[in-house]
């Protein structure tokens, strides 16, 4: 795709992505391990006749599909932005340790009973995972801004190291924690989208909405950053401000995603690459398109997770890792060939 982005082209491309999202969002709640009677759902909606199928549909499947969509979309937008700011095609919240750091925060709250505080739809899990994500993002920002000129590969390795440290921290918590909490913790760690209702969903929005807004607003400037900081400044971009907003936005969106769904990997890697192949590299399209495609992708992955091993369910993180691992390797090998 080499055409220049005009308003018309933007609208056409986005219409395609939005249509895909709507199809997936509308279709996904009808599938699952339990076969639902559509008449029962329809009667409940139109004539207020209660039925267990309608309960599953409205109170279990719809919130779950919405959560999958929001989490997938957010991680994909965060990945797209990080790849430009760090000028590394392998950057994404999971690989850079941001999701891991958020997970440490959340695991601490889950395992220390006194720390788990609920206020309305919000809980201290969100707060602590935000704290973890922001600390990690802060460390990456500090490395990236270092006047000594840290290479972008070093930052990626630093992220991998943070991930290992987070893994160790989580093992430590597991070791200390009382055994009956282990199951809850493990399911959460594997990345699961079950057990949510509208209440938990609404609790995500205070982190997710400002985070996504911060990232979406950077699309035009991010194109410039792909040519390095000096070129971008020369063209009139306030580089330091864009970087700060991207890192803050990434921290917020990742924290929101991780706090409910656990550390789901590779969505932030696969989706940005797919979007750039499908509709070009202009980030005014890449960011919103990544949200749509990322959302649709994770929703479909979750559908598989619910159906493949029915009547039980598989954590969706396993599926994204199975698809994402080979993609990561492919990009890594391609990148090294180009060097």
């Amino acid at each position: 795709m080499t055409g220049m982005l005009t308003r018309k082209r933007f609208v056409l491309l986005m219409a395609g992505y939005v249509l895909l999202s709507i199809l997936v969002l509308a279709g996904a709640p009808f599938f699952g391990s339990e076969r639902l009677g559509l008449d029962n759902v329809k009667n409940a909606l139109l004539s207020h006749i209660p039925h267990v199928d309608a309960d599953i549909f409205f109170h279990h499947r719809i919130p779950r599909v919405l959560l999958a969509f929001l989490v997938g979309g957010s991680l994909a937008v965060a990945g797209s932005s990080l790849q430009v700011v760090l000028r590394n095609p392998l950057a994404e919240p999971f690989i850079l340790g941001i999701a891991g750091a958020g997970a440490v925060g959340a695991v601490i709250v889950i395992s220390v009973p006194g720390l788990s505080i609920h206020f309305g739809p919000f809980s201290s899990v969100q707060f602590f995972s935000l704290l973890g994500c922001i600390l990690c993002v802060g460390a990456i920002y500090w490395l990236a801004r270092s006047p000594l000129g840290v290479s972008m590969n070093t930052i990626l390795l630093a992220g991998v190291t943070i991930n290992i440290l987070c893994g160790a921290a989580i093992l430590l918590v597991r070791y200390i924690v009382s055994p009956h909490l282990l199951v809850t913790m493990d399911r959460w760690m594997m990345g699961g989208l079950d057990v949510v209702g509208y209440r938990e969903l609404s609790g995500l929005l205070p982190l997710l909405l400002p985070g996504l807004a911060l990232l979406f607003l950077q699309g035009y400037a991010l194109n410039q950053l792909a040519f390095g900081e000096k070129m971008a400044m020369g063209h009139g971009v306030n580089v330091a401000s864009v970087q700060k907003q991207v890192f803050l936005g990434t921290g917020l969106t990742t924290a929101a995603a991780v706090s409910l769904a656990g550390p789901i990997g590779f969505v932030g890697l696969i989706i940005p690459h797919a979007v750039r192949r499908l509709s070009g590299v202009d980030h005014r399209v890449v960011l919103p398109a990544a949200f749509c495609l990322g959302g649709a992708f994770l929703t479909v992955c979750d559908l598989f997770a619910r159906m493949v091993v029915a009547p039980t369910e598989m954590p969706v993180g396993i599926i994204t890792a199975i698809i994402g691992g080979p993609v990561f390797l492919r990009i890594l090998l391609k990148k090294n060939r180009n060097m």
Binding site: T2, G3, M4, L5, T6, R7, F10, V84, R87, P89, P147, L148, G219, Y220, A221, N223, Q224, A226, F227, G228, E229, K230, M231, M233, G234, H235, G236, V237, N238, V239, R276, V281, D282, R284
Partner: protein
């Protein structure tokens, strides 16, 4: 060469100092100005501070002390977009990531003139088209920037900087990857641009291009401007020997009388040794 009035300063750098964190090297209180209609050649050995001086002049780095003015305005008090509408900066090491097409890269130069989502107006498209033609990269407009050769990329980046429609251009080794024909074309283009009223400061290691095309020369060494003047005054055997050491000879062009710099035969040095 063409005489210029050099009365209207577009850019003036006043007593800037700069020290890199964790390094002993520094740029000492340096001042220079770029006026309408002139090409200033900035020369000096590796590590003499040429690129640092351009980064300071373009506001990419902030001086420890001293000021940079665009017209009457201090650039420290200006927004980057405001600066970019007046000043075009061509960095030495711009490497493209992701597969942007050539015309997308050139269109990036319209950033300071657009806001919001930045969709280009018909006027913007015209400017982009003209810049593609001027830098002779029109034929590559659909190609991926990353698939071009080093020299082609430099011409695309020049087009992108020109698309800013700046009044002053600061170019850091813009011809380092160009073949001789394109080097000459590049400097002819600069001559055309200054005839239209813009000012240019160009860092280059090609002393002959400086001799033939620049109106003034700044010579830097160890973080200081040590010489400033017309090419004929600066590019002499003596100053080049003081700055670069042995190894260059100078002859004068038979018709223009401008200095031509050649690799030294080494005979002078050998004579000195044997005697």
């Amino acid at each position: 060469m063409i005489e210029t009035t050099m009365d209207r300063k577009i850019l003036s750098v006043q007593g800037v100092n700069y020290k890199y964190a964790g390094s002993d090297w520094q740029l000492f209180s340096t001042s220079f100005a770029v006026s309408e209609g002139e090409i200033i050649g900035i020369i000096g050995p590796n590590g003499s501070g040429k690129s640092t001086l351009l980064k300071l002049a373009s506001g990419v780095i902030t001086p420890d002390s001293g000021n940079v003015f665009l017209g009457e305005k201090d650039i420290a008090k200006m927004k980057r977009r405001q600066i970019a509408r007046i000043l075009g900066y061509f960095p030495q090491d711009a490497v493209g990531h992701f597969d942007y097409s050539v015309q997308e890269v050139v269109a990036m130069g319209r950033f300071p003139h657009r806001s919001g989502a930045g969709f280009l107006s018909p006027h913007d498209m015209d400017v982009v088209g003209q810049c593609l033609l001027r830098a002779e990269v029109e034929q590559y407009r659909e190609r991926h920037f990353s698939h071009l050769s080093g020299g082609e990329r430099q011409r695309v980046l020049l087009a992108s900087v020109l698309a800013q429609e700046p009044n002053v251009l600061l170019l850091d080794e813009p011809t380092s990857a160009l073949d001789m024909q394109h080097q000459v074309k590049f400097f002819r283009l600069l001559t055309e641009l200054v005839a239209e009223g813009i000012g240019v400061a160009v860092v280059t290691h090609d002393l002959n291009l400086v001799s033939f095309y620049s109106h003034r020369v700044l010579m830097l060494k160890d973080g200081k401007i040590i010489e400033e003047g017309r090419p004929g005054e600066i590019l002499t055997q003596e100053t080049l020997k003081d700055t670069y050491g042995e190894g260059v000879d100078i002859i004068l062009h038979p018709t223009t009388g401008l200095p031509i710099i050649l690799p030294g035969t080494g005979l002078e040095a050998q004579k000195a040794k044997t005697s």
